[in-house]
């Protein structure tokens, strides 16, 4: 047996199957015929890759994929029975037709039934899917079918209205949504029709019922719907809309709620804003460039004119309530200023600055900071910035009004024209603009036309006076004459029609203050008093006060006295046209301020205080804090460091004086640090040095002994 068994296989292996039977014939037993050779071609054939649409579920593992493919092919044919059917059935119901994805997903659960049908499925997979390889899984209609089936099952009856409303809401957004939904589903244009029909077929009762009913209700209610229904004639679109509506109902409702939500904007707090403006000014105090001041003053003049216009605007129709509070305060503050301007006899920059400072302090807290600065330029820059900030803040408030004012200005330039012209020249600084605003303000308050001529007379007088003073002012003026023509234009624009009469009087009074430093203090003083009185009388007018308040701040900066500053703007305001007279003189005056400020700037810039570089402080502080630090906090740190250095120098002087020395030594520093609590018995200075200072400095500070009986650094 064994030998035979051994022999026959060998023999049979050697010979063909036909020969096998020969040796076994006598036995009577014929070995079972070998099974027919199997055809593994299809099994071994390269698997065809499916063209799954991109959005479909991720492809399973290759083995499973193949199985799933086969299963999908077979699922269409057979009712798959098996343990996996239970979970597969709900999905397989739609998938019975052709949802390859469901089948695939199910296949991933590891059903074992597919193994049978592998061959069949593989053939299936090969056969008909040359054109549409994904008919089972990947066609858009199938995908849509899947989507529809997986939608939350909503009762057709109850949500009818909600659906209707949703669709109503969705109508406005339907086009976009539909587009998006279409995009999401990635349905080609051709597919929708098919899918719609498929959808209907899939869920006959529920969907059809709801759709028809819904449509009826919708059409009955919404004209839009009908209009849109014309557009969306296809069943697909309607079904889609419904699906979209139901799907997107919560979103649209939410979105609409979002859209409808009223935007709550915080009302701008004038006080807070002004405070912040002042803070900004503080920050910008450092800029002492004449150029900066000039530009700032130019800006200021422009802004001032707008401010003046704003002032004019407010008087025309209604007084802005915002400005009332501040303006009244400022107005009251202005009165003392006016009186002060009267008394100021000196035209020297410092005195003017001081006066201005004094005035401004009362008005604005930031002015106090300016006081610290002896240099007018710095003050002017600060004020300029402040004023610019204020102007920028104020100007947007009255954009419309400015337009009105401009129209009025053209009418009024006349009487004081020449005066204003000369005044313009004189007024170099931004204060001029401020004073212009001031003057405008006063104009409104003061008497009307009759005084115009009087003021004209005054103005001419003031003109002559101003001319000599102009030269002086030019020296001091931070802004060049170029600002004056601009200011002139702007001021003229800003002048209100009715207030011209007042301004004339105000101008005269303003002019006087300007000239006061030069001459004729008394006359001007009277006028100033009148002005002050007028101001008092007109304290009800809110805006002017504000403008005055703003202007004094800006005025403070410029070298000119506040009165002087105010006066030129008045003239500037009044005379737009008759610049001819002043034209020849203006260029001369233009030249003068240009040269002088340069000299002053260079000479004044140098003693700019030495500061530890801001970036260094920032870097150090940030390194030690290990937390984000706001910019304002850095400002405070800088101030602290300044104060610290002041304290430090005082202490060092005390220690060195106590030791009878005039030089601060390292020992003094150590004493200081000991008293500060930095150096203790536990923490010697040396350790601190090693910890915080880089090597180069350590080497200099800590004596190190090296060979050769040498100590570095050598004492």
């Amino acid at each position: 047996m064994a030998s035979r068994g051994g022999g026959t296989p060998a023999a049979s292996g050697a010979s063909g199957p036909a020969e096998l039977q020969l040796p076994q014939g006598p036995r009577g037993l014929s070995p079972p015929p070998p099974p027919p050779p199997r055809n593994y071609a299809d099994h071994n054939a390269p698997r065809r890759r499916r063209n799954y649409p991109p959005h479909t579920a991720p492809r399973p593992l290759p083995a499973l994929a193949r199985v799933s493919r086969e299963e999908a092919g077979g699922g269409n044919r057979w009712a798959v029975t098996g343990p996996a059917m239970a979970d597969r059935r709900p999905r397989a119901r739609p998938g019975l037709r052709r949802s390859g994805h469901n089948a695939r997903a199910v296949a991933q659960t590891g059903s074992s039934v597919e193994n049978k049908s592998k061959s069949v499925r593989s053939t299936l997979a090969k056969q008909g899917l040359g054109v549409f390889p994904d008919l089972r899984n990947g066609t858009p209609r199938l995908m849509l079918k899947r989507v529809m089936q997986n939608q939350p099952q909503v009762s057709p009856l109850a949500p009818q209205i909600s659906n209707h409303e949703d669709t109503k809401e969705a109508h406005s957004e339907v086009p976009s949504q539909r587009v998006s939904s279409m995009g999401e589903l990635q349905l080609p244009d051709v597919a929708p029709e098919d899918t719609s029909t498929t959808v209907f077929n899939m869920k006959k009762k529920r969907r059809k019922f709801s759709i028809s009913e819904f449509e009826r209700a919708a059409e009955s209610r919404l004209p839009q719907y009908q209009a849109q229904s014309a557009l969306d004639s296809t069943v697909m679109t309607r079904s889609l809309r419904m699906s979209v509506g139901s799907l997107l109902a919560p979103d649209t409702v939410e979105k609409r709620g979002l859209l409808r939500r009223p935007k709550t904007r915080r009302a701008v707090d004038m006080q807070a804003f002004e405070g912040r403006v002042e803070q900004n000014l503080l920050k910008s105090k450092g800029q002492n460039d004449l150029v900066d001041s000039q530009s700032a003053s130019v800006i200021r003049t422009s802004m001032l004119t707008s401010d003046a216009e704003m002032m004019m605007n407010s008087t025309e129709l209604f007084v802005q309530p915002l400005l009332d509070e501040e303006s009244q305060n400022k107005l009251s503050a202005l009165e003392p200023q006016l009186s002060d301007s009267k008394t100021s006899a000196q035209r020297s920059p410092i005195s003017d600055a001081d006066q201005e400072e004094a005035r401004l302090e009362g008005l604005v807290s930031s002015v106090s900071t300016n006081q610290e600065r002896t240099q007018r330029y710095s003050k002017s820059t600060g004020l300029d910035d402040e004023h610019v900030d204020r102007m920028s803040h104020v100007s947007p408030e009255t954009p419309a009004k400015q337009g009105e004012e401009k129209q009025d200005h053209s009418q009024q330039s006349n009487p004081v024209a020449k005066i204003s012209v000369t005044e313009e020249e004189v007024v170099c600084t931004a204060e001029r603009g401020a004073s212009a605003g001031h003057s405008e303000h006063l104009e409104k308050k003061l008497a009307e036309k009759a005084e115009l001529q009087i003021t004209a007379g005054h103005a001419s007088r003031g003109e002559t006076e101003v001319a000599p003073s102009a030269g002086k002012e030019v020296e001091e003026g931070s802004t060049g004459a170029h600002s004056s023509p601009r200011a002139e234009h702007e001021i003229t624009r800003g002048i209100g029609a009715e207030s011209l009469g007042r301004p004339s009087h105000a101008f005269s009074s303003f002019e006087k203050p300007e000239v006061t430093p030069v001459d004729e203090i008394d006359e001007q003083g009277d006028e100033l008093q009148d002005q002050a009185m007028m101001l008092n009388l007109d304290s009800s007018v809110g805006e002017p006060a504000e403008d005055e308040a703003e202007q004094p701040e800006s005025q403070e900066v410029s070298m000119k006295t506040p009165t002087f500053v105010r006066a030129p703007p008045h003239k500037l305001l009044l005379s737009a046209k008759p610049a001819k007279a002043s034209a020849p003189s203006s260029p001369l005056k233009l030249l003068q301020p240009k040269t002088v400020p340069k000299r002053l700037r260079t000479s004044q810039k140098k003693p700019r205080e030495p500061q530890v570089p801001r970036s260094l402080i920032k870097a150090i502080f940030r390194h030690f804090a290990k937390m984000p630090v706001t910019r304002d906090a850095f400002q405070i740190v800088e101030k602290c460091s300044e104060r610290y250095f002041k304290q430090l120098s005082d202490d060092l002087e005390a220690y060195s004086h106590h030791a009878g020395r005039k030089t601060v030594e390292a020992a003094d520093l150590e004493v200081l640090m000991r008293r500060q609590g930095l150096v203790t018995d536990k923490m010697p200075l040396r350790v601190l040095i090693e910890r915080h200072l880089p090597l180069e400095y350590r080497r200099l500070l800590i004596p190190v002994a090296v060979s050769g009986n040498k100590v570095i650094p050598s004492k």
Partner: protein, 76 residues
């Protein structure tokens, strides 16, 4: 990131406050050291204040309150 100490600037600052005072050779380095330690203490204090306020950013009010304490401490 840490840069060199602004030695000349420190000298100028002290000179501005106390013109008659002179500084020894490397004393300004120690001045710089003391300044560093001052900022260090200030930063720590401000950081503590910010933590107490449950804020992740150091705000000016934290710095101000820290400065009050540390400046008093650093008077010597």
């Amino acid at each position: 990131m840490k840069r060199t100490a602004p030695r000349s600037t420190l000298r100028k600052i002290i000179k501005k406050h106390k013109p008659q005072l002179r500084l020894a050779a490397n004393a300004d380095l120690l001045v710089h050291l003391s300044f560093l330690l001052f900022l260090h203490r200030l930063a720590e204090e401000a950081r503590t204040n910010a933590f107490e306020n449950k804020s992740k950013i150091i705000k000016p009010e934290h710095t101000i309150s820290a400065a009050k304490v540390i400046l008093k401490k650093s008077r010597g």
